[in-house]
Amino acid sequence: MSVKRVSRCLVLLFLLISAPVYAVPEIQHWVSPQGGRIYFVPTEGLPLLDVRVVFDAGSARDAEKFGLAALTSGMLDTGAGDWDADAIAQRLESVGASLGTGVSRDTAWLSLRSLTHPEKLGVALETGREILARPRFEQKDFDREKNRTLLAIKQRGEQPDDLAEIAFFQALYGNHPYAHPQEGFTETVEPLTREDLVDFHKRYYVAKNAIVVIVGEVKRADAESIAEKLLSGLEQGAVSPALSAPEPIHSVETVKRPFPSEQTHVRAGLIGMTATDPDYFPLYVGNHILGGSGLVSRISEEVREKRGLSYNAYSYFMPLREAGPFQVGLQTRNDQAEEALRVALKTVKDFAANGPTDKELEAAKKNIIGGFVLRLDSNQKLTEQVAIVAFYNRPLDYLARFTEKVEAVTREDIKRAFRSRVDPDKLRTVLVGGGAK
């Protein structure tokens, strides 16, 4: 019997004894009369309700009008139906409801949190329905919000880390819809018109393109009527078409951009994986060891703990509908940028070539499995996790089977997955700062 096997058995035993099986909340799923996909998790203990409506309407749908999805989302609560921005805010705030909107590369979302008190909840839902279905996009509001966006884009220019992130995505994605930042660029936001927003809303904010996540202290029948009410103003419409896959990269490239900062911000990476990648678990667990587990990860150990080169050094995969990036990042005093980058990349190369040790894999599994309950220990976290499951069409038992999938990952799985995905000959590197000379 090998040493490895002994320790594996001990791990399992340990978990069985000291970590009672946590019953992951069951996700209920149905399709609303309008065609929206609904995901519901009832909870107990607090009289509150979280609703998250997610559309396939992120910045990847901007076409050439970079910033369109973000501005559309940002304007939803500045006027809808019979109400202007003040009326909307007063309605929500007088019942204590919180509303948020935002976009990612893949999604546009609206989140609403309310007390379950029927009258208060009713006001919150009615307001949410109007915001989703009948936003006004009035010219004066549009002009103001566009100007604020332009200023925010300008301010981005004083943040070397933001500039590094933008340059990194451009270096990786070229002409793909994931290449540009969500808020766009000055020259793409300036020409936007309110008609662009009206058209975008009409095309993408439709029931068939929506998922609704409901988490809170309500009954199934209530959840059904909540979902129906929220979507009742939307056209049925159609789901967004598939995105193209990003062009594969076959070369190493480094982008350097001088910036008058004391630190140089570094990104290195390549095109990684999709949210439904068959190698999701080996890559996820592997990266947890490499750079995804904070101060105990290899990259942090080498760059920060051993050498004091950076406050924050990490790596991660960002799984998206199409392949999202794998990226390594750090920031350090200008004169040691090259050294820190060399240390980080050597760590990545070693890991991609040899994978983790048995001990590392065991520690990672203990961390992920032992801490799984912490991902779901509030309604808010539950809402976010279910939204990801729903949007990427993961199986309904995804959360329930998560720890089992992690447990099944072997060293060989990780080694194989990293060797095929993290190819040092396809790395794109970006340096922004005084060290980027």
Binding site: P20, S98, N147, R257, F259, E305, S310, Y311
Partner: protein
């Protein structure tokens, strides 16, 4: 507030407990350690926090940043556990951990599956008294902290400007110094300085342990006695009052920094709940006044300055009810393109004038109170946040019961009281103003890309 690792979003707005809400169980060990336990049985998880009564406002000139530096070193080994092992053990137990330092406290936390609480107690008790503080580890960590300072402050125009603003606004209050410390002070710290600081403050009679989660209070108490009970108490230093002297007139400053946008910060000297004495309604009235200005999208700054007059691209107001020493009622904002900092300042001061001269409408006041009530329920969704509230109020000397009074105290605030505090505290003689006037930066995202292969092995 500074975190050792990644930054966490921290919402410092208060909470209170009504009849149906979970009770807080308070215990004190013989060595002086205080233990607060609140049950939350929604998920089999537990938050464990250890709060020390020491932070930047306990420091003196020349050693600023020492509390934060020590916080970093608390992960660098004891006689029993070598450097880094603390984090590895917590990770192996499925836990998440970090620490943070503020003006008024230093705190350490773990979030764990509920059966792992003993792991947290064993490790926290060990480093409360037996930290090694080795010179080799210190030298490396000092570089990490200097990198942290570059990241958070030196390369952030607004953060740097606010650092200068605080040192303008306060004459002698320790709040004039940044939590992370001035660069020369951080660079000048030695391992002996840290040993001295650790010896002064890290003791059970200077600590509060806060537990929120799926636990039984009596069992937690027994566990705490087992792990923390054997630790010896210290004779703690006398805390000097260090009250801010009276300000004798308005103060202004202009900061020139490479930046893209101008920025404005204003602050009026105000008492905190702890320093206000008998008239504690004044502090709650200031809290509500901040809510009238900045309590959501319907509040006055968004409604009037961002949307109505369109003088601000963004604007905010804030007041910290729970600081240990007297603090500032702040206003800040970014003017829209085409408007000046002067115009924005004028608009903000007009809002202060309205608070002084006009009575807040009943509907507006009700809206602020409705939000307070709702958010009070929402906050209970986060065990971590609830533990933060208990730990912070206890550590600044108000006592955790303060948070139970919050909703009632806010509900009792009248329109007249808001006017009274605005007239008493939001006046020119208490005001400091700072302008950030940008120096040109090279164009960022629009700059022509200098793209060239780097060459050499290390990028391959």
């Amino acid at each position: 507030m500074l975190f050792r690792g990644l930054r966490l979003a921290l919402l410092v707005s208060p909470l209170s407990l009504h009849a149906a809400e979970p009770a807080v169980h308070e215990f004190r060990l013989d060595n002086g350690l205080k233990l607060l336990v609140q049950e939350d049985h929604r998920a089999p998880a537990v938050v464990s926090q250890v709060w020390y009564k020491v932070g930047a406002s306990y420091e003196h000139g020349g050693i600023t940043g020492i509390s934060h530096m020590l916080e970093h070193m608390m992960f660098k080994g004891t006689e029993k556990h070598p450097p880094g092992e603390f984090s590895r053990i917590i990770a192996a137990n499925g836990g998440r951990e970090n620490a943070f330092t503020g003006q008024d406290y230093t705190a350490y936390f773990q979030t764990l599956e509920k059966t792992r609480l003993p792991v947290s107690f064993e490790l926290e008790a060990d480093r409360m008294r037996y930290l090694l503080l080795a010179d080799k580890e210190f030298k490396k960590e000092q570089q990490v902290v200097l990198e942290e300072r570059r990241l958070r402050t030196d390369d952030q125009p607004r953060a740097k400007m606010e650092e200068h603003f605080q040192s303008l606004a306060y004459t002698n209050s320790p709040y004039k110094n940044p939590v992370i410390g001035w660069p020369d002070d951080v660079g000048g710290l030695t391992v002996d300085d840290l040993k001295y600081w650790y010896g002064l403050w890290y003791a059970p009679n200077n600590a509060t342990v806060v537990i929120v989660g799926d636990v039984n209070p009596q069992e937690v108490y027994t566990l705490a006695k087992k792990h923390f009970g054997p630790l010896k108490p210290s004779k703690l230093p006398e805390i000097k009052p260090r009250g801010e002297v009276e300000q004798l007139g308005p103060r202004r400053m202009t900061v020139h920094l490479p930046a893209k946008l101008p920025y404005l910060v204003m602050g009026y000297k105000t008492p905190a709940l702890r320093t206000i004495g008998q008239e504690d309604w004044e502090a709650y009235a200031l809290e509500v006044a901040a809510g009238i200005l900045d309590g959501g999208n319907s509040a006055r700054l968004s409604s009037r300055l961002v949307r109505g007059q369109q003088v601000a691209a963004s604007a905010g107001a804030g007041y910290d009810l729970y600081s240990r020493l007297s603090n500032l009622f702040t206003l800040e904002g970014t003017p829209v393109q085409g408007k000046t900092l002067q115009a924005l300042e004028k608009a903000l001061r007009e809002e202060i004038r309205r608070l002084q001269d006009e009575s807040v409408s009943a509907a507006e006041l009700e809206r602020v109170k409705a939000q307070v009530l709702a958010h009070h329920v929402y906050q209970r969704d986060s065990m971590f946040y609830q533990a933060m509230q208990l730990g912070a109020t206890e550590t600044v000397g108000l006592g955790w019961k303060t948070i139970q009074e919050y909703v009632d105290k806010v509900n009792a605030v009248t329109a007249e009281q808001i006017q009274q505090v605005a007239r008493k505290y939001l006046i020119d003689d208490r005001l400091s103003v700072a302008y950030l006037e940008p120096l040109p930066l090279p164009e960022g995202a629009k700059a022509p890309e200098e793209t060239a292969p780097m060459g050499g092995d290390h990028v391959r």
